[in-house]
């Protein structure tokens, strides 16, 4: 299946206030690849992720997701293909109970009730969250919220999974569980994070973004061992490589 590709071609994006957030970015991610996006604060990682499902439209250049070019018309179709997990789970979980939240996406896809229930159970089970289903999100811990947020995206059965700082706010054990979980997914994965150890564990390839442009793109072990490159981008060697 070669159609789960993500291709950015000369993408630039300028915020209404004039900030040039992306400058001529090009890359191609093929089916099943797991890619880490790293870079300093404000380098443009989040802006880049927001282009993946058409929340932001490139000022110039093209975004191609699974052979569909991103336009106003194809937004809905692209949102089905790309599931985004946001940094702050409170923003992601907006329904009164966990179950309703995970069901929100599938219901919007127009599935019938049996199919929705099946997907919700499957997704919650996958993140070990089945016993949380009747709880309201504001009574969950951060780790539980993050698990449910992932389930809510998995229930949409996206081809491509994008995450913004998935391990921020998690305690080490929840973080480890998350890493193990991510390793089992066969989706194409795009993970923006400062947690380089997580990137090293989960991803094969790594893209370094600096000032809205691609500063480096290559195999994860090559990039994460390049001390000079990392330090130029306000990063350091992953902790596990510092000894």
């Amino acid at each position: 299946m070669s159609h789960h590709i993500v291709e950015f071609k000369n993408v630039s994006f300028c915020y209404p206030d004039g900030t040039q957030a992306l400058k001529d970015i090009s890359f191609r991610i093929t089916h099943g690849e797991s890619v880490g996006i790293i870079g300093a604060n404000g380098a443009g990682k989040s802006t880049l992720l927001m282009h993946l499902n058409g929340y932001l439209m490139p000022t110039s250049g093209t975004v191609n997701i699974g052979d569909v070019y991103l336009t106003k018309k194809t937004q809905q179709e692209i949102r089905r293909k790309v599931g985004i997990v946001f940094q702050n789970s409170d923003d992601q979980l907006f329904m009164p109970t966990v179950y309703e939240d995970v069901a929100f996406g599938p219901l919007n896809l127009g599935l019938d009730e049996a199919a929705v229930r099946e997907r919700v159970d499957f997704a919650l089970n996958l993140v070990n969250g089945l016993e949380l289903k009747n709880k309201p999100p504001h009574h969950l811990s951060c780790g539980q919220k993050s698990a449910v947020a992932i389930a809510s995206v998995i229930a949409m059965e996206p081809d491509i999974l994008a995450m913004d700082e998935p391990a921020a706010n998690l305690d080490p054990r929840s973080r480890r569980l998350l890493i193990n979980l991510l390793k089992t997914f066969e989706h194409s994965k795009i993970i923006a994070s400062h947690d380089l150890d997580l990137i090293m564990d989960v991803c094969r390839r790594c893209i370094v973004v600096r000032d809205g442009a691609v500063a480096a793109d290559g195999p994860v072990m090559e990039i994460l061992t390049d001390k000079t490159l990392l330090e130029e981008n306000h990063l350091e060697l992953p902790l596990s490589l510092q000894r």
């Binding site: 949102r79 599931g83 946001f86 409170d90 009164p96 309201p136 504001h138």
Partner: protein, 269 residues
């Protein structure tokens, strides 16, 4: 810190609705409609009515007992909002000074009667509305409203209000704590600072709203909040609705207090 305690209080109202009693199991639509009818019946009485209103306390008391809702909790909530009712009626005894004969030559001004009537109506309506939420849960009421054909946009607004009330309160709590930690004594607590805090809170809320909308779009939101909840009218619901209707009818159109009084008189005299 009063803010913190208020916060946990609201959480408590929320947790009351997780119980599983006869009242909690009733169909939310039925409870909602009966509550509305109750409210309209209570406010339909004339402004000097007192005695005919008293029997209506049976309904909130029954809900509270069957639904295992702590009496003190409801009482505190009612007292908390009571200033509104008190200020509406407080000048009635002065403005409406016509004399009314009560019994044995004892007279008071008509204003006092209407003031007491306002207080009773207020207690009845507020406690019943609180009990509806305590036994149904706020989202339950929202979904019932949607099923009763309230437009989707209002229901979504209500659901968001409920979901993000806690988040916003936590946000406020964090801001207030941060300020208290760095303001020593009375400095940094004047009005101007409060205005700025409110501004910060507003901006944060707007940004959050944008992120939430983004998250909703990512999951295919197209204007309506879908739900999997199924409501089914069971025999218990019918029984509840019919007996509530019968009670409301009797209390509204027959002098129940007087009948009961004569009955008691007949027994003892």
């Amino acid at each position: 810190m009063t803010f913190d305690t208020q916060y946990y209080n609201i959480g408590f109202l929320d947790q009351l609705s997780y119980k599983d009693t006869f009242v909690h199991r009733l169909d939310p639509r039925v409870k909602l409609v009966v509550t509305l009818l109750f409210l309209f019946t209570v406010i339909s009485f004339s402004k000097y009515e007192i005695f005919a209103l008293v029997p209506f306390f049976l309904y909130p008391v029954l809900l509270m007992t069957l639904g295992e809702i702590p009496f003190m909790f409801i009482l505190k909530k009612v007292l908390l909002v009571s200033p509104f009712a008190v200020f509406i009626g407080i000048f009635n005894p002065l403005l409406d000074s016509g004399q009314v004969f009560i019994f044995n030559g004892f007279t008071i001004s008509a204003g006092w009667l209407s003031f007491i009537s306002i207080l009773i109506k207020f207690t009845l309506t507020v406690s019943t509305a609180l009990l509806l939420i305590a036994t149904t849960s706020f989202p339950g009421v929202c979904h019932a409203l949607r099923r009763l054909k309230l437009p989707a946009i209002f229901v979504s607004q209500l659901l968001f209000l409920y979901r993000y009330l806690f988040v916003l309160m936590e946000e406020t709590m964090r801001i207030v704590r941060a300020r208290n930690m760095r303001s020593f004594g009375e400095r940094g607590k004047d009005m101007r600072i409060y205005v700025r805090l409110a501004g910060t809170l507003f901006l944060r809320a707007v940004e959050r709203a944008e992120r939430i909308y983004h998250a909703m779009l990512s999951r295919g939101f197209q204007g309506d909040m879908p739900t999997l909840k199924h409501f089914q009218i069971k025999s218990g619901d019918v029984f509840f609705a019919l007996s509530a209707l019968a009670l409301l009818f009797v209390f509204r159109f027959f002098p129940a207090t007087e009948i009961l009084g004569r009955f008691v008189q007949g027994v003892f005299l």
